[in-house]
């Protein structure tokens, strides 16, 4: 069942997976990371963010992890999330799918060569 929710992969879920690719993050850090990597276009609110996180957890694409040891006590209430192996694979296949689309777009001369 969770597969169907994430097929096709929603943009928010894909951005969260990309944000987690570098390391474990908590909710607010994910939101900031997504905002940065999307050039400020995508600002996830709590509803979208935690809805997507719940879907990804149910799809076993991310998992909740304990607080990293080097984080100060001030943020101890936060939950941290980590990309699973399955999630990394899925993010890669999604990125490849997008690369295919990009290739077609360039072949049709919609894009100039200075992208990617």
């Amino acid at each position: 069942m969770p597969k169907r929710k994430l097929d096709p992969l929603p943009a928010a879920a894909f951005q969260i997976m990309l944000a987690l690719a570098d390391g474990d993050l908590h909710g607010y850090a994910i939101m900031r990371q997504v905002e940065e990597q999307s050039g400020g276009r995508l600002r996830l609110g709590p509803g979208t963010l935690y809805g997507s996180i719940q879907s990804l957890l149910e799809g076993n694409l991310i998992q909740e992890v304990g607080r990293p040891a080097d984080i100060e006590v001030r943020s101890e209430r936060r939950r941290y999330y980590r990309l699973t192996v399955t999630g990394r694979k899925m993010a890669r296949s999604e990125a490849e799918r997008m690369a295919d689309v990009l290739r077609v777009a360039r072949a049709r001369r919609i894009l100039r060569g200075d992208y990617v």
């Binding site: 069942m1 969770p2 169907r4 929710k5 929603p10 909710g27 607010y28 939101m31 600002r43 996830l44 609110g45 709590p46 509803g47 979208t48 963010l49 935690y50 809805g51 997507s52 996180i53 719940q54 879907s55 149910e58 209430r77 936060r78 939950r79």
Partner: protein, 319 residues
């Protein structure tokens, strides 16, 4: 203030989602309020929160919120069938779509087949078989013809001539009568008995006159039915394949298509005069004036000659 507003909006979310993430969500709002100061950023933040609270709703309701222990348990019992999950799931959009499109495709395919079989009806005998309606009409027609020859069963089994071998024995009471009294055909009531060669051929009027007239008013062709076959070649004697041969006569138009070796066959054909037209690739390439066609044992040869002429050699003669 925005926190209060968001808490109200948050009540729209499923209770399990709220239980799981309310603290986190409020923490996120606190973080953003702390980081995003200034009129523009605050306005943007409020707008974001309001839009997000509504945009996030569908996904929050799609999630199942199954506890992780249950998930691991269901993974362990994956081998055994379980209806637990299906029971709770409403019918998915994809399933409805699949079912709908499948039934639509079935209906379309059925309609297509139906219209194709209807389209073939006006070209009787073109595929070498009679349609059920034609078969019934044929039988009625034969039964009403007053001089239909009927052969006694013992003679019919031994004879292959007379051209009657194609016919089935008539299931009429007259046939039964001729079966029981075949040794004394001369005393059959109302029979104009004819002896044809070695076979006893007895013709009996089988139907009442008023029934007969009913069938006659339907203007069905009541002639000698026979087959006509042959080969279509070009001027150099090479067979012409997939050409349509149209026979246009008083009873309508019959069409067959030639095989790879140029052969064609009309299985049910009334004797009479026919125009023969050859159509290749949707174009009339040759035609003849009226040719008399009737039962023949030897196949005819159609030759496409120059100038759109069609030569017919050895057209069958009446036996």
């Amino acid at each position: 203030m925005s926190k209060k507003m968001y808490t109200r909006l948050f009540r729209l979310y499923p209770s399990r989602f709220r239980k799981e993430y309310e603290g986190e969500a409020l923490q996120l709002i606190r973080d953003r309020l702390r980081d995003e100061t200034g009129f523009m950023k605050r306005t943007r933040l409020f707008w974001d929160l309001a839009a997000d609270a509504l945009a996030g709703l569908p996904q929050a309701y799609r999630n199942s919120y199954a506890p992780t222990e249950a998930a691991s348990l269901s993974l362990q019992t994956e081998g055994s069938p379980s209806f637990k999950v299906l029971d709770e799931q409403p019918l998915g959009r994809a399933s409805i779509l699949l079912g709908g499109s499948l039934s639509l495709a079935t209906i379309v395919a059925f309609g297509f087949l139906l219209s194709r079989s209807m389209a073939r009806l006006p070209v009787p005998g073109s595929n070498g078989r009679m349609s059920p309606i034609e078969a019934v009409v044929e039988r009625l027609n034969r039964a009403t013809t007053p001089d239909t020859p009927i052969i006694g069963p013992e003679e019919a089994s031994g004879s292959t001539s007379v051209g009657a071998s194609q016919r089935q024995p008539l299931p009429s009471p007259a046939a039964a009568a001729s079966t029981s009294k075949s040794h004394a055909p001369a005393i059959l009531p109302g029979s104009g008995n004819v002896a044809g060669g070695q076979n006893h051929i007895v013709s009996i009027p089988t139907q009442k006159p008023n029934e007969r007239s009913l069938y006659l008013t339907a203007q069905l062709p009541a002639g000698e039915a026979s087959a006509w076959r042959g080969t279509l070649t070009d001027a150099f004697g090479r067979p012409v394949r997939s050409a349509e041969i149209h026979l246009i006569g008083g009873h309508g138009e019959l069409v067959v298509r030639t095989a790879a070796d140029g052969r064609f066959a009309f299985s049910e054909l009334m004797s009479g005069d026919y125009e023969v037209v050859v159509v290749l690739g949707g174009r009339e390439v040759a035609q003849t004036k009226a040719v008399h066609l009737s039962a023949t044992s030897s196949p005819s040869r159609l030759t496409l000659a120059s100038g759109g002429r069609l030569l017919v050699s050895r057209p069958g003669k009446l036996p």
